[in-house]
C-alpha cells in the first residue's frame, strides 16, 4: 500500500514537471519559438526582484529583441536573495548560456558569479543597477540618473525659484545616489535654492509617508520635496495632503510610471523624470548581439531620461514604449 502511494506521488511529480517544462516560458505574449536546443541560443536574465513593474517592462523589451533573433530567454527572480542569485547564475553558466543579463541584488556580492561567467567566456551585461567589478562585465546599461536629478531640479527652479527643499533618499542604491547628486549639482546653480535636510525614504511609499510627515512638522518653511522615485513620491504626497499643504509644497521626482503620470494630471505632482525600462532592455539585448557579431561595445551605456509634466503627460504615455524621443 505504502509503496503504491509513493509510486503515485512520483508519477504525479513527473506529470507536474512535464506539464511545467513543456509550457513555453510565459511573459510578453506572442508565439515563443521552439524551446529545445534546436530553438536558437539561450540567454539568461537574473533580476533582484520581479515584484516591480519597472523590471517587468525591462524584461519585455529584452525579450522583444531576443525573440526577434529566434533565440530564447530564461528569466529568473532572485527575490532580493543574493545566494539565490548566485545559484541562478551558476545554473545558467553551467548550462552554457550564450550571454547573461544581470540586475544585481548586492553590487559587491556578485563578484564570484561574474568571475565564473568570465572564466567560461560568457559575456555579462549589467542592467539598471551597477556592479563594483566593472572590468568583469561586457557593459552596464542604465538610465542617466544624474540627468534625471538635474531635470527635476531645473523644473522646480523654473516654477518656484525660491525653493526650500527636503530630499527623501534611498542611500543604499547607487542609481538613487546619482539622482540626488544630479539634483544637488543643479540646485547649486540656483541661488534661491536651500536644501533643508536629506532623510531616508527607502524608495517605498510606506517608508516615505511618516518621514515626510515629520519633515513637514520640523520645517514649516519647507515648500518643495525631491523623493528619489515614484513610490516614495506617493508617500510624500499623501503626507502633504494630510498636512493640508497641497499646492504649497511642490513635488518633483524620478521614474515616469503610469501611476505617477495619472497623479501628474491631478496636479499633486509637478514632474517626474521618466526612465524607459523597455528601452534599457532592448539596448542591453542589442549590445549583446553587437558583441556576438564581433563589434566593440561601450563599457557604459546611459539611456536618456525625459521630463514629464502635466502638459506632456498624455503624449508621453502614448509614446513610452517607443523609448526616449531624442
Amino acid at each position: 500500500m505504502r509503496i503504491k502511494l509513493i509510486g503515485l506521488l512520483a508519477v504525479c511529480c513527473a506529470l507536474a514537471l512535464l506539464a511545467g517544462c513543456s509550457q513555453p516560458s510565459q511573459g510578453g505574449g506572442g508565439a515563443a519559438p521552439a524551446k529545445d536546443a534546436k530553438g536558437g541560443r539561450l540567454f539568461g536574465v537574473s533580476y533582484q526582484t520581479m515584484n516591480n513593474p519597472f523590471f517587468v517592462e525591462l524584461n519585455d523589451g529584452m525579450k522583444e529583441v531576443i525573440e526577434a533573433h529566434g533565440d530564447r530567454m530564461v528569466t529568473l527572480d532572485a527575490q532580493y536573495n543574493s545566494l539565490k542569485q548566485k545559484n541562478d547564475i551558476s545554473d545558467l553558466v553551467l548550462q552554457g548560456a550564450t550571454a547573461i543579463f544581470l540586475n544585481p541584488v548586492n553590487w559587491e556580492g556578485v563578484t564570484g558569479s561574474l568571475a565564473q561567467a568570465k572564466q567560461k567566456g560568457i559575456p555579462v551585461v549589467v542592467v539598471d543597477a551597477p556592479v563594483k567589478d566593472a572590468d568583469l562585465v561586457l557593459c552596464q546599461v542604465a538610465s542617466d540618473n544624474l540627468e534625471a536629478g538635474r531635470l527635476a531640479a531645473r523644473k522646480l527652479a523654473e516654477v518656484q525659484p525660491e525653493s526650500k527643499v527636503v530630499i527623501l533618499h534611498s542611500s543604499v542604491n547607487k542609481a538613487c545616489i546619482d539622482r540626488v547628486d544630479g539634483f544637488k549639482e543643479e540646485a547649486a546653480k540656483h541661488p534661491g535654492f536651500t536644501i533643508l535636510d536629506t532623510q531616508e525614504g527607502k524608495g517605498t511609499t510606506e517608508a516615505a509617508l511618516p518621514v515626510m510627515r515629520d519633515l513637514l512638522a520640523r520645517f514649516p518653511e519647507c515648500n518643495a520635496v525631491f523623493p528619489i522615485n515614484d513610490p516614495s513620491a506617493f508617500g510624500a504626497i499623501s503626507a502633504i495632503e494630510s498636512a493640508g499643504k497641497l499646492g504649497k509644497v511642490l513635488v518633483v521626482t524620478v521614474d515616469g510610471s503610469k501611476e505617477a503620470v495619472d497623479v501628474l494630471k491631478t496636479g499633486k505632482l509637478l514632474s517626474t523624470s521618466a526612465q524607459f525600462p523597455r528601452e534599457i532592455g532592448r539596448i542591453s539585448a542589442e549590445k549583446v548581439y553587437e558583441h556576438l557579431d564581433g563589434k566593440p561595445v561601450d563599457k557604459e551605456v546611459k539611456i536618456p531620461v525625459e521630463l514629464v509634466t502635466r502638459e506632456n503627460a498624455d503624449s508621453f504615455l502614448a509614446n513610452k514604449a517607443k523609448g526616449p524621443s531624442k
Binding site: R2, C12, K35, L42, N81, L83, G109, G112
Partner: protein, 317 residues
C-alpha cells in the same frame, strides 16, 4: 532498517527528477553540473541539520536566517579591522571565533528559554530572529565587503580542492557525518528521539530534557554560524539583510526528508536527501527554462506531497 526503508521512495522520486531533467536539459547530469548542485545546497543542508534536531524534539528555530546574517556581519567586521593590507591568521581566527561565539550565544538564549520557560519555541525564536536581524543591521546597514587579501576566508566559500570539489561541499559532508553519528550512534541521539516521541515519558525515564534541549538549540545556532561564514565568503561580503526565508528552506529540506513536525521522527541522511531533492528541483526548473512563477507552484506542491505522504504513512502504522 526502518529508517533506511523510508528513504527508498525519496530516492526513487529523486531519480525520476534526474531523468526528467536530463530529458529536458542534455547537460544536466554532467559532472560540473552535479558538483554545482551539491555546492548550491551546502548552506541549506548545514542549517537543515540543526533544524532537524530542533524539529525532532518537537521544537523549531525560526532565527536561523537572521543568525546567519548576524554571524556573517560580525565575522566580516572583525576581518576588516586593523591593517587591511596583510592577511593575518590571528585576525582570521578571531573573526571565526567571534562569529561562532555570537551564534552560540543566540543558541544558548533560545535553548535556555525553551528549556526553562513555558514559552513555545516558535515564539522564542521569532523574537530572537528579530533581535538578531536588528543587531546585524545595527552593525552595518549595507553589505560589508570582505578585504581582498583575506584569501583564506574567501577560500571557505569559493576554493575547490584539486580544482574540482568545492570547499563548502567538504565542510557540509564532514558536518553532516558528525551530525549523523551524534544522532544515530550515541545515547544523546537516542534521548532526542525519546524527547520528541513523548516528552513527559522521557523525563520520567531520567533523561535530562532541559539540558538536551539547550544543546540542540546551541548546535543548531552554531551550525547556522558555519553556514553564515560560507554564505558570506561565497558572496565576497556580509549582508545584514541576507538569509531571509532561509529558515523556511531548512524546514522544507527537513520535512521533505521525512522529519515529522510532531517530533520523534527524522534522520540526517533523510534530511540531506530532502535538501538534494529541493536543490535538484531549483536547478532543474531553472535550466529547463520554467517560468519563475511556475517554479514556486511546483516546489510548493512537492513539499505538500511529501508531507502528505508522511502523514498517511503514520496513520497506517
Amino acid at each position: 532498517m526502518n529508517a533506511a526503508k523510508r528513504m527508498i521512495p525519496l530516492i526513487i522520486a529523486w531519480i525520476v527528477l534526474l531523468i526528467l531533467f536530463r530529458m529536458k536539459v542534455h547537460t544536466f547530469l554532467a559532472r560540473d553540473n552535479m558538483i554545482d548542485l551539491v555546492q548550491q545546497i551546502s548552506v541549506n543542508a548545514i542549517i537543515a541539520c540543526g533544524m532537524t534536531y530542533c524539529i525532532l524534539i518537537g521544537g523549531i528555530d525560526l532565527s536561523v536566517g537572521a543568525v546567519l546574517a548576524l554571524v556573517g556581519t560580525v565575522t566580516v567586521s572583525v576581518l576588516s579591522m586593523g591593517d587591511p593590507t596583510e592577511q593575518s591568521i590571528l585576525r582570521l581566527g578571531l573573526a571565526i571565533c567571534a562569529g561562532l561565539g555570537v551564534a552560540a550565544l543566540f543558541g544558548l538564549f533560545n535553548g535556555f528559554c525553551a528549556a526553562k520557560t513555558k514559552m513555545p519555541p516558535f515564539i522564542i525564536t521569532l523574537g530572537s530572529m528579530l533581535v538578531a536581524r536588528g543587531l546585524a543591521l545595527r552593525i552595518n546597514e549595507t553589505p560589508i565587503r570582505i578585504p581582498a587579501q583575506d584569501s583564506l576566508f574567501l577560500a571557505i566559500g569559493n576554493a575547490r580542492i584539486g580544482g574540482i570539489v568545492p570547499v563548502p561541499v567538504i565542510i557540509m559532508l564532514v558536518l553532516l557525518a558528525l551530525g549523523a553519528v551524534l544522532l544515530h550512534r550515541t545515547r544523546f541521539g537516542q534521548h532526542l528521539y525519546a524527547i520528541g516521541g513523548n516528552r513527559e515519558a522521557a523525563r520520567f525515564t531520567g533523561i535530562a530534557v532541559g539540558r538536551a534541549e539547550l544543546i540542540v538549540y546551541i548546535l543548531c545556532a552554531v551550525l547556522t554560524g558555519v553556514a553564515g561564514m560560507i554564505h558570506a565568503s561565497q558572496l565576497y561580503s556580509a549582508e545584514p539583510n541576507s538569509g531571509q526565508g532561509f529558515e523556511l528552506n531548512a524546514i522544507a529540506a527537513a520535512v521533505v526528508g521525512g522529519t515529522s513536525f510532531t517530533g520523534g521522527v527524522g534522520t540526517i541522511p533523510g534530511m540531506l536527501l530532502g535538501a538534494v531533492i529541493i536543490g535538484t528541483l531549483d536547478k532543474g526548473l531553472n535550466q529547463a527554462g520554467v517560468h519563475f512563477s511556475l517554479q514556486y507552484i511546483l516546489k510548493g506542491l512537492v513539499i505538500l506531497a511529501a508531507v502528505y505522504m508522511d502523514v498517511r504513512r503514520k496513520r497506517q502504522a
